[in-house]
């Protein structure tokens, strides 16, 4: 097993150095690269995002929203960094079509999960609930908490409605079902990695993402422990 890992590491090191720079290197270089590239998984640079209006933003489809707290969404194009540029469609747990752009104007806390998950997802949802409780009232009243399921087969809108009841999730929680295309695209936008396992469950990144009113990622908490104060601060800071 150790040999395998070394090989994997070697491949990483080689690729991060050579492929992303655009040159396929000789296998012989593998070993010499090892000590220089201790963190190969992180070396794909995140694209620098410029603040400018995208000429290509999808037409925002404004649907009915909670009248009490939603800022009115206008027809202006989404910003260049806005996740709401994606045109993928989801269905909420009431069975209604839902596009992410409908969240425009509200602070969003978004996590990908699956309802039958036995380990991390219950903790992630508990953390989101704890986060919600931490928020100053005026932030909490505007915020929306979104759960999007990896499990396109089992987490139907009805299954998500059951999950909502089991977890006592109030009206400011949005539970979304999507097809494989939609889920894969959202995961790619968030940087979430996932994979269905032989038994039907999913390996997945544990990631809580905060979006501002424009749908831009302003904060991500990775892992399962701590960091909620920073997440709450990120939500409170955006006004």
């Amino acid at each position: 097993m150790k040999t395998h890992r070394i090989l994997i590491t070697a491949a990483f090191a080689l690729l991060c150095r050579s492929l992303l720079a655009g040159d396929a290197a000789a296998p012989a270089r593998v070993n010499t690269l090892l000590p220089e590239e201790p963190k190969p998984a992180c070396c794909a640079p995140a694209p620098k995002v410029e603040k400018k209006d995208a000429c290509c933003a999808a037409e925002p489809k404004v649907a009915a929203k909670d009248a009490c707290c939603a800022a009115p969404a206008d027809a202006a194009p989404f910003s260049a960094a806005s996740l709401y540029q994606t045109d993928v469609a989801f269905t909420n747990d009431a069975g209604k079509a839902f596009r992410l752009g409908e969240l425009r104007g509200r602070p969003v806390v978004l996590t990908m999960f699956f309802a039958s998950c036995g380990y991390a997802c219950p903790l992630l949802v508990t953390d989101m609930q704890a986060l919600r409780a931490k928020l100053p009232a005026e932030v909490r009243e505007r915020a929306v908490f979104v759960l999007v399921s990896f499990d396109v087969e089992r987490d139907t809108p009805a299954a998500l409605a059951t999950y909502r009841a089991q977890r006592n999730l109030a009206g400011d929680w949005v539970l979304l079902h999507g097809d494989d295309d939609a889920v894969r695209e959202l995961a790619a936008l968030l940087g979430v990695k996932y994979k269905q396992e032989a038994a039907g469950g999913f390996s997945h990144s544990n990631l809580i993402t905060v979006l501002n009113g424009e749908g831009e990622v302003v904060h991500q908490r990775t892992g399962l422990k701590g960091g909620l104060d920073e997440t709450a601060a990120a939500l409170t800071a955006m006004r």
Partner: protein, 271 residues
């Protein structure tokens, strides 16, 4: 990956027959049938199936070319270099093209298009009425030798593959027509560029492959230690590593794509 042995054949037959029924022969031009088979993931944890059945599907005979991609950006202005959103493609997107609608000398019409992001590749596939192949599909197609189903025993193919890996990426890529087709009639799976797959963002190998300690375990739900089924398949290691190092907006000078159609991906809900 859910095992659906008994269903896969039926699904494959239905998908292919409906594909051929709906499309004219011209629409299938340039695609080859990859017969149903079994993909053995190179890297897997104890939670992954050792063998994944893959229904038959259609795969482009060659990677998407600059000429193909020019037609796409001509029809879809938001994917032109000057207009693409930074959310969907990084700064090196189509940088080797002479202009928005002018591939130019560094991007010959028949050469594979590179410097395209996963989002762009997906959008092209959708526009073309196709989709990106899954990892399982791509690897199954690429596992064939020139004249036999298992390329691992094809010395000629292995020689060509490793010769390619040892060469730097040329400034101007060649025409895949010059590459020998594999058993399924598909060209250039090895030998020209790396290719995007639809599910590149699987939770397989990142930090946890080398350090399965508590901290890393918290980053992934279900992450176990990763083992390899065939440690001699160096090229497959490289592909797995490349996929896991990429982010969806990334583009590189050696990364292109080709499209598939037919049987749905195993993880998709049944249509």
């Amino acid at each position: 990956m859910k095992l659906r042995h008994h269903l896969s054949l039926l699904v494959a037959v239905l998908a292919l027959s409906s594909a051929t029924a709906v499309l004219g022969a011209g629409d299938l031009a340039g695609m080859r049938t990859i017969p149903a088979g079994t993909y053995e993931p190179l890297l897997r944890t104890k939670l992954d199936a050792p063998q994944v059945p893959v229904p038959a599907f259609l795969l482009d005979e060659r990677p998407v070319s600059n000429a193909d991609y020019l037609a796409f950006v001509t029809a879809n202005p938001k994917w032109r270099r000057s207009q693409v959103s930074p959310l969907f493609a990084d700064k090196s997107y189509l940088q080797h093209w002479a202009g928005d609608l002018e591939p130019g000398p560094a991007a010959p019409p028949d050469a594979p298009v590179v410097r395209v992001s996963w989002f762009a590749a997906r959008a092209y596939a959708r526009w073309a009425g196709k989709r990106l192949p899954t990892t399982a599909e791509w690897e199954l197609a690429a596992a064939a030798g020139y004249d036999r189903p298992d390329g691992r025993n094809d010395e000629a193919m292995k020689r060509d593959l490793y010769a390619w890996l040892a060469r730097p990426v040329p400034a101007v890529l060649g025409d895949p027509a010059n590459l020998r087709p594999n058993l399924h009639g598909v060209r250039g799976l090895h030998g020209l560029v790396w290719e995007w797959v639809d599910d590149f963002n699987t939770a397989m190998v990142t930090g946890e492959s080398r350090a399965d300690n508590g901290i890393d375990r918290d980053l992934f739900c279900g992450a176990g230690s990763v083992g390899a089924s065939d440690t001699t398949d160096y090229a497959a290691f490289m592909r797995a590593a490349l996929r896991s190092s990429l982010k969806a907006p990334n583009t590189t000078t050696s990364l292109g794509f080709r499209c598939a159609r037919g049987a749905a991906p195993l993880t998709a809900s049944t249509p």
